[in-house]
Symmetry: C2
Subunit: 282 residues, 2 copies
Amino acid sequence: MSPVDVKPKHPAMERQDPAVLPAREDEFGGVTVEMKKQDRALSPEAFSRLLRNSMLLWKRQGKNGVWIRFSRGLENLHEVAAREGFENHHAQPDYLMMAFWIPKTTPCTLPGSATHRVTIGAIVLNDRTKEVLVVQEKKGKFRGVWKIPTGTVNEGENTHVAAVREVKEETGIDTEFLKILSVKELHNALFSWSELTFICALRPTSFDIQVEESEIDAAEWMPMEKFEAQPFATKDEVCRHVVEICRVQLGGVSTGFTPRGVMSVLENKSCVLYHNAQDLKD
Amino acid sequence: MSPVDVKPKHPAMERQDPAVLPAREDEFGGVTVEMKKQDRALSPEAFSRLLRNSMLLWKRQGKNGVWIRFSRGLENLHEVAAREGFENHHAQPDYLMMAFWIPKTTPCTLPGSATHRVTIGAIVLNDRTKEVLVVQEKKGKFRGVWKIPTGTVNEGENTHVAAVREVKEETGIDTEFLKILSVKELHNALFSWSELTFICALRPTSFDIQVEESEIDAAEWMPMEKFEAQPFATKDEVCRHVVEICRVQLGGVSTGFTPRGVMSVLENKSCVLYHNAQDLKD
């Protein structure tokens, strides 16, 4: 919003005494205010007055959730909203979203913030030599052990795409995505978030390793026997599980979910479904 | 930190001129500062001086990532950190985490924020009557259609637990978790987050429906024929997929992932693995 422009742009507001923040209504009975960089001219005092007037109006209108999105550069207004009872909802580098639930008698139904990070573990097997593609990381808890390539699925990225990308980035190996073999669910992984790891099978289409040297110490095609003989592969149940599903995958009988792009008319978006395709064939 | 206490508590700091913020080091070469409620006495000016001195020290020490966690009530300091170049990393109702990457020549390797929300869709079938448990929601895009119960997996909650909980909350039906049949991946679902939906099969152990009236309009055991005859079940590819996997599940041949609790020694945490258990039996 641009406070100087409020009256000329919104003639309806002139009838309102006093001035309020322009807000967008949503289908759930809530309102959203966008405080943008150009609102930097607004003093905390002026914002405080506008916010108080707006809250009175929204309460009268029976609104429930109030969202305020503060662009970067408006940190001086965070305190004003917090003083009015707003709480942080989520943040990105370029904004902070704060929220307030008006109804005193109805429990808050505002959706929560993102709760999970998603990662992949890539099982890349050379069928002919019975070798598995493994890496050693430079830092972190896996330092010094040979492990399958792992990595984070980016915001907006499909998991099957992330698996192929991470293998290529870490080892230079080109692969074709085959299937999700397993899902690992871990809580309190980083900050208070949960982490889902999709353990996927990929078929290599190139074999010459190029190590990504900033994060990876070494990468190699390792015989299954050597991989599973590592002490940590017997001690750690997750690693033992990875060894087991490598074996099953090499045996050619593994069951997994393959991706299929579909259109959701209700969401008006395309999405990916991972499913055992054989089940749907009959 | 408590600025008044800094010197007496940290005698090492007296040798440092000028005073700096107390910080915890991490294994990745970074430092974290916790600004707590009791630091409310610190003026923005004093915090600004401490932060500038600290940044000079951390740069000399070769630190890379700097994290500052501002507890609720310290919103007046957000602006100071932003002016020094700090960006929002993530927020929870009770704090804002800001971060700064010092190295100018090394790309930032700070982990990103949570990117995903996780939901479940629950396929609850009565094998005997070939009926599926369906609900109609009061609000949102699914209003007016009969759909399987869905809901959000809470932070720290296991997906298989969430599926049982959501069915019970929405319909009063007790269930036993069977398996994950399918995973749906959707982007830009809410704000900029991605959404993973685990479509799960559950076996009902009770049959009397009790509708949760604040969010659900109606719930019933619906014959499969009626469920799949809904216009939207043929138009929407995701809904058609749900109908298909209901059919496969009723046929008794569906493939899915069952949960198993395991201990990760490396993470020093228990976690859940979802996998086709039959594959691992031989």
